[in-house]
């Protein structure tokens, strides 16, 4: 199986580390890159062309939802998912409209497993 | 306390007597206790509830605050309060049969608490109080307080005349002075660098400073018609009927001295002597230039501004 490329977008360093940890523990050969905000994510995604993008919703500057929308347009075949502790109907709806997934925080091994499952298929 | 076997009927009796709805859920959210108050006000008997899931009995509670609160108690060991303001009539409870027939639910305050018994068993205790009477009492008290407050003429903090009293008095005295052709003087004064005082010493001490200054100055007015009032935050005003400008200025100077003599420390003051001081603006009208109320107030304000501009801790008169 070809190693996948993942982009983690979150302004919290600890969050990024945790997510990276959960992924690399299962797939040490995958390429995992990080971005701390929406602009950085878009810039990195251009060159990286990730298979999976995980975005925190609550970020300073461009928020996760807008960044996800931009990335969806840029990467039509990538798996993109929003992560947030604040699960509300409005956010869920937005995610559906943009065509991205939605996962509840806190980040756990099970939740990350669910998110990377499509790449393992 | 009696032995546990004997005290059980006593406790059961108490639970069924108290004027609070009491129900207990086990870790699977099934009802294990439903007291008489609950029976009486819900129309649901204890026997019907035993071992049934709370959400089978009240399915409309799913997805609401009460469900979240029960979850927090059972899973996170934390208690919750459901205020009647944010959760109107959550459970179908009625004050009496008549209310039940009309469908008028009781106003409820609910608390949800974790209950930990020795052997690692966790339960959830839900207490419901009828707050209808309390709400009505509070509404009545609040209306009365509002009515009272609109009649009072005294400032809450300092006890001197308040702005309302000042507004009525200046109006009355201006007209009187114009009619009688007598002089009228007005002082506007405030505490120098007061914002800095608050920032440095805290608002509580700021209030104490206002009280001290007001107390010292309000006793200086000699005549019954003289009025010392709190005009605004840290601003005070003094109305002196039948008082020409020079007499008013003399009194103002005495007031400045009196505050200085209090020697209240003010470390954040930008003056050399780090103590609390005041600046005073004086304006007067006499038979030749008796004007409107606002003209006199504006003049006193301008004079106060001049006093500040010239270095504070002084009197200026127009």
């Amino acid at each position: 199986m070809k190693p996948s490329t993942v982009l983690i977008v979150d302004d919290s360093r600890v969050s990024r580390m945790l997510t990276r940890q959960h992924i690399q523990v299962r797939h040490a050969d995958w390429v995992v890159e990080e971005a701390a905000n929406g602009d950085e994510a878009i810039a990195k995604a251009k060159g990286l062309q990730p298979d999976l993008v995980l975005l925190d919703v609550n970020m300073p500057g461009m928020n996760g939802v807008d960044a996800a929308a931009a990335l969806r347009a840029m990467l039509p075949n990538a798996h993109i998912s929003l992560l947030t502790a604040n699960v509300q109907a409005a956010t869920r709806q937005r995610a559906e409209e943009i065509g991205v997934g939605f996962m509840e925080k806190p980040i756990t091994a099970e939740r990350i497993a669910q998110l990377i499952a499509p790449l393992e298929a | 306390m009696k032995s546990s076997l004997e005290s059980l009927p006593l406790l059961q009796g108490v639970i069924d007597c108290i004027d609070v709805g009491t129900l207990v859920l086990d870790a699977s959210e099934r009802v294990v206790l439903w007291n008489r108050w609950m029976e009486h006000h819900s129309g649901v008997l204890g026997a019907e509830t035993l071992e049934r899931s709370f959400f089978d009995l009240f399915p409309e509670q799913r997805g609401k605050r009460l469900e979240a609160a029960i979850g927090q108690a059972l899973r996170s060991n934390l208690p919750s309060l459901l205020s009647q303001t944010l959760n109107r009539w959550p459970l179908p409870l009625y004050a009496n049969k008549a209310a039940a027939e009309k469908g008028e639910r009781m106003q409820q305050q609910i608390t949800v608490s974790p209950l930990n018994l020795g052997n690692n068993e966790r339960f959830c205790l839900i207490q419901v109080s009828d707050v209808t009477a309390a709400v009505q009492r509070e509404n009545l008290l609040r209306e009365q307080a509002v009515a009272l407050r609109s009649q009072t003429l005294l400032d809450d903090l300092t006890g001197v005349a308040n702005r309302r009293h000042f507004d009525m008095a200046i109006d009355r005295e201006t007209r009187r002075a114009r009619r009688m052709g007598t002089p009228l003087s007005l002082m506007m004064l405030d505490i120098d660098y007061f914002k800095a005082y608050n920032d440095h010493y805290g608002h509580q001490q700021g209030d104490a400073c206002l009280e001290a200054v007001a107390s010292a100055l309000s006793t200086m007015q000699q005549r019954p018609a003289d009025l010392f009032a709190r005009y605004g935050g840290e601003e005070f005003a003094v109305i002196l009927p039948d008082t020409p400008a020079d007499a008013a200025v003399m009194m103002a100077n005495a007031m400045c001295r009196k505050v200085r003599d209090l020697r209240i420390p003010h470390q954040a003051s930008r003056s050399d002597e780090r103590i609390v001081t005041i600046s005073i603006g004086v304006a007067s009208s006499d038979s030749s230039n008796a004007g409107e109320v606002y003209e006199l107030i504006n003049a006193a304000d301008r004079a106060l501004y001049q006093a500040k501009a010239c270095g504070r801790n002084r009197v200026h008169s127009l």
Binding site: M17, Q21, T84, A85 | S80, L81, L82, T85, L86, N139
Partner: protein, 209 residues
């Protein structure tokens, strides 16, 4: 004053953000509006400094409305949610909607603020406790109004540290800022730091630069 490493500090910020995120979820259910809350910053201060900071930032009459709950177990703390007094009526009105007559609103405003404090504090502390793997015991909310020094004196006058969270609260496009103070003694502070360090060890497999 106990110092956290940069990583421990980041972890706490993230844990609190998860907590207030969950609180915002609960509140949006009550209000049927989008509610967002975030914790942009946390700091460790002495009680005196905390009181001064709150005072210096106030634009109204300096009076605050505070809702406090006591927690014990994994660590001991008095947690207090504070809003400027003039903002609290605004918040309740936003939560309740315009349907309520003004007189009735003022009467039960304190109770509503108590519940808001209860939801927010339990979410924060609950998330913290769950993620750190230790349980806490909490009290029901108590309501106070006064200046910052008075409200922070709830936990007594002993030498204490305050963990301050600044909270941004957005509801119906209105942005309201508040603060949460966790008042702790040195023992509690040490306990908290230890728990955070343990959490990092468990999750990220040991200290990293």
């Amino acid at each position: 004053m106990v110092r956290l490493t940069e990583l421990e500090h980041d972890a706490l910020v993230e844990l609190f953000n998860i907590g207030v995120g969950q609180a915002a979820s609960s509140m949006s259910e009550i209000v049927n509006e989008t509610v967002t809350m975030s914790v942009p910053a946390i700091s460790f201060l002495t009680r005196a400094t905390a009181a001064k900071l709150l005072t210096s930032r106030s634009t109204g009459n300096g009076r605050l409305c505070g809702i406090s709950q006591h927690y014990s177990g994994a660590f001991d703390t008095e947690a207090i949610l504070m809003f400027p007094e003039e903002k609290s009526q605004e918040i309740v009105r936003l939560m309740v909607g315009e349907a309520m007559p003004l007189a009735e609103l003022s009467a039960m405003e304190q109770e509503a603020m108590s519940e808001i404090g209860n939801i927010l504090l339990n979410s924060c502390v609950g998330a913290l406790a769950n993620l750190l793997g230790h349980e806490l015991h909490g009290s029901l909310p108590a309501y106070h109004v006064g200046y910052s020094e008075e409200i922070l004196a709830q936990a007594g006058s002993a030498e204490t540290a305050v963990l301050m969270l600044h909270i941004e609260f957005v509801i119906e496009r209105q942005q309201i800022a508040g603060d949460v103070a966790f008042i702790m003694d040195m023992t509690a502070l040490h306990d908290l730091k230890q728990h955070v360090a343990d959490f990092l060890d468990r999750s990220i497999g040991g200290a990293q630069p």
